[in-house]
Each structure stands twice: as C-alpha cells, then as structure tokens.
C-alpha cells in the first residue's frame, strides 16, 4: 500500500501540473493501475476533457490495454501525455521502460521513483514461493533519475524531490 502522505503529495503535484499544462482534447495514457486507490489515482486530474486510457501488463486489473511497458507495441507518438507513478521501481528493465515512454508519447511524460524508501514488494511471495505479483527492484537519487531521463531522450525535465520521492514532468 502506498503511504497516504506520499500519495497526497503526489496527487497535489499532479493536480498542480494538470492545471499548469491544462490539456484539453488530448490523449492521455496511465500505466500501472494495480494497487490501492486504483484504477488510477492520476488520470482523474488529467482526464477532464481528454481521451484517456489505462495500460497494465496484468489483465486482472482490467486496463484498456494489456501490455508490457518495456515493449508495448503501441504506435510511436500515440499519446499527448503518459503517466506512470509508483511503478518504475517495480520494472526490472527500467531503461527499456523509459525509452518506451519516450517513444509512445507525443509530448509529455510524468514518471516518479522512490529513494531510500522501505522495500514494498510482496514479501509473502518470498516466504511461500507464490507466483510473482510484483517485485521491488530499484531506488534512484534525483540526480540519477534526471540522468536516466535524459538518456531516454527527454530534453526538458522538471523534477520535484519530496518525501524521498522524485517525480518528473518530462517533455520531448
């Protein structure tokens, strides 16, 4: 479960970013809709007046698109805004995911990642050897995150680091 304090801070940032961008009549995609306050706590800020879809690799969350964000098969530049929050640390090939985000967005990506946050994988799986739901792999400093986003191709990156979480608005 996402820490309520972190979720509030992310939501406030998302809402202020939504107000700043004020997208209307655009295509919005949210990735990674499993977990609490889902499907999606994020698209509600950007969904107004926009056409929006959800993507998850697990069909059990009933996303609009079932795909792996490391290799989604979606056309290039197919969304004006792609949002992925509280998910990147669970993706093993995060570089592939960031490159794919860059490829499928026409303009904006919102992505975040934690730093020095306690491990939050499904620990019962480790004990009982149950099938993997999601695992918790990565942490990045804001500097590393900034560099990874630049390497993925983004030219304009605005990172806010708060409550041990980096959240970035990236522009192509």
């Amino acid at each position: 479960m996402i820490d309520p304090q972190l979720r509030i801070e992310i939501n406030v940032w998302l809402e202020q970013t939504a107000m700043k961008l004020n997208l209307s009549g655009k295509r919005v995609l949210e990735i990674g809709i499993a977990g609490d306050e889902k499907p999606s706590g994020s698209y509600r800020f950007f969904g107004k007046g926009n056409e929006w879809q959800t993507l998850d690799k697990n069909s059990k969350w009933s996303p609009d698109i079932v795909a792996d964000i490391c290799n989604s098969g979606l056309p290039s530049n197919s969304f004006d805004l792609v949002i992925i929050t509280q998910s990147l640390e669970h993706i093993w090939d995060y570089k592939a995911a960031l490159s794919e985000l860059y490829r499928i967005t026409k303009k904006y990506v919102i992505v975040d990642c934690p730093f020095m946050v306690p491990m939050h994988q499904d620990t019962m799986r480790v004990i009982n050897n149950k099938p993997l739901e999601w695992d918790d792999y990565w942490r990045f400093t804001p500097a590393a995150f900034d560099r990874l986003l630049k390497e993925a191709g983004f030219e304009k990156i605005d990172i806010q680091f708060k409550n041990l979480n980096s959240i970035a608005l990236c522009e192509k």
């Binding site: 406030v12 969904g47 609009d64 290799n71 098969g73």
Partner: protein
C-alpha cells in the same frame, strides 16, 4: 518477439470511467468552481464581499468554514441569542454551505491527543451546528491547519473528510481528504474544475483584497459546493 499487446474487450473504451467528466466533455470551455472561504464568524467582516460575488455571479455558491462558536465573542453585546439570530440569517442563504472549522478557532485546539476529549469537541461542534440548523457538511478544516493524528482518527470514525493545505499537504492517517487547487490571490486558472480557497477577511487571500481577482472568473462558470465536488467530481 511480438509484444504482448491486446485490447481488453471486456471494457470498451467508449464506456469506461467517463461519468465524472461527461458534463465537462460536452462543453470543455465552461469551468466549474468549488469555492471555500475560511473564518466565517459572526461580527467579523467579509460577508459583504460574498454578496458582491452573488450580485456579479447570480449562480454563485460557496462553502464557508465556520468555527462552531467563538468564545471570545460572548459579551454583553454579543449573546448566544444573537448568535442564533445570525444563524437564522445565514440559513436563509441557500447559496451558502457551512463546514466546521474547529470549535472556537483557538490555536492548537485540534492538536489535542486525548481521543475522549476530541470526541467531546467534535460532538459539541455538531450539536451547535444542528441546533442552529445550519446547512452543514462533514468536511472538517482544522484552525491553522493544525491537527493531531488522534483528531484525524476521530474525524474519520465520525465520517468526515479532512480539508488539508495544498501548500503543506500533510496527513497522518488514511482519512479522505479535500485539497484546494487555487488560492484566490493567484491568477484565475483556466483548468476545468477549480477548487478555490480564500479567507473571509485579511490574510494573503482574504476576500477584502482578492475580490477584484475573483471577479475575473468567467461569467459563464458553474459554481458548486464542496459537498457537490466531493460527490460528483472527486
């Protein structure tokens, strides 16, 4: 290898999760404003600015965060009966919705940690609001945004939503929250659904200084109560 991409046939995109936004999608240029103002207190100024708003925007409505009773006001001139008379006048305004803003707006009153005392405080607020028959909602804003974890717990148990500060969004429990997204001293946003916040009087975003800015809200805007926002837009 071919990517594993499929469209989920169970939920056609056209039928998905559009309900809260349907009315906005029909006319995206029309904005919706949920306005709230703090410190609605008998004997304090500010109401005249709301009346000016009502004159300018006939469909204007707002939610006023109101201390249950300001003990400092209890004097020979300002009696409980006068408070009741004031409440009657407030109740005649169907464009006003009341929300609790602490008991007496004292510094630290919601930093109390003894739950039994917090129960007493919150029940007293509810009793006063009910006695004077306010049109009130269970959205609580702590005076000075100061609130203890225990107070959040008591409010949550009693079915409240907690209004928190956009500029310092802190919560200590998983109580439902309401967060404003526009302070009325800032330029009027063009965002479709605006949750505006100000004060009745004084402070950086008091109505006394921000009324000219408020009048820049587009005249075709829709106004809703905070309760309507929480019901239909959150």
């Amino acid at each position: 290898m071919m990517p594993m991409t499929t469209l989920n046939n169970q939920r056609p995109t056209s039928q998905l999760k559009t309900t809260p936004f349907q009315n906005l999608q029909n006319n995206t240029s029309k904005q919706t404003f949920a306005m709230d103002f703090d410190d609605f207190i008998m004997t304090r100024p500010g109401f005249e600015y709301l009346e000016k708003m009502k004159e300018h925007f006939p469909d204007f409505k707002c939610t006023l965060f109101t201390p249950a009773f300001n003990l400092k006001l209890l004097t020979k001139q300002v009696t409980v009966d006068k408070f009741k008379d004031w409440a009657k006048l407030v109740n005649k305004q169907d464009w006003i919705e009341i929300a609790p803003h602490g008991f007496s707006h004292s510094r630290g009153e919601m930093l109390e940690t003894r739950k039994e005392r917090l129960e007493i405080i919150i029940k007293a607020i509810e009793a006063i609001f009910n006695q004077v028959e306010f049109n009130w909602i269970k959205v609580f804003k702590a005076p000075f945004w100061e609130i203890s974890k225990e107070a959040e717990e008591v409010l949550k148990e009693r079915g409240y939503t907690l209004a928190i500060d956009r500029n310092n969004p802190k919560i200590q429990t998983d109580i439902p929250t309401y967060v404003f997204n526009w302070s009325i001293d800032e330029p009027v946003p063009t965002y479709p659904t605006v949750k505006g916040h100000g004060h009745m009087h004084l402070t950086n975003n008091g109505l006394d200084s921000c009324l000219p800015n408020m009048l820049k809200i587009p005249t075709n805007s829709e106004f809703i109560f905070v309760s309507e926002y929480l019901k239909n837009y959150a």
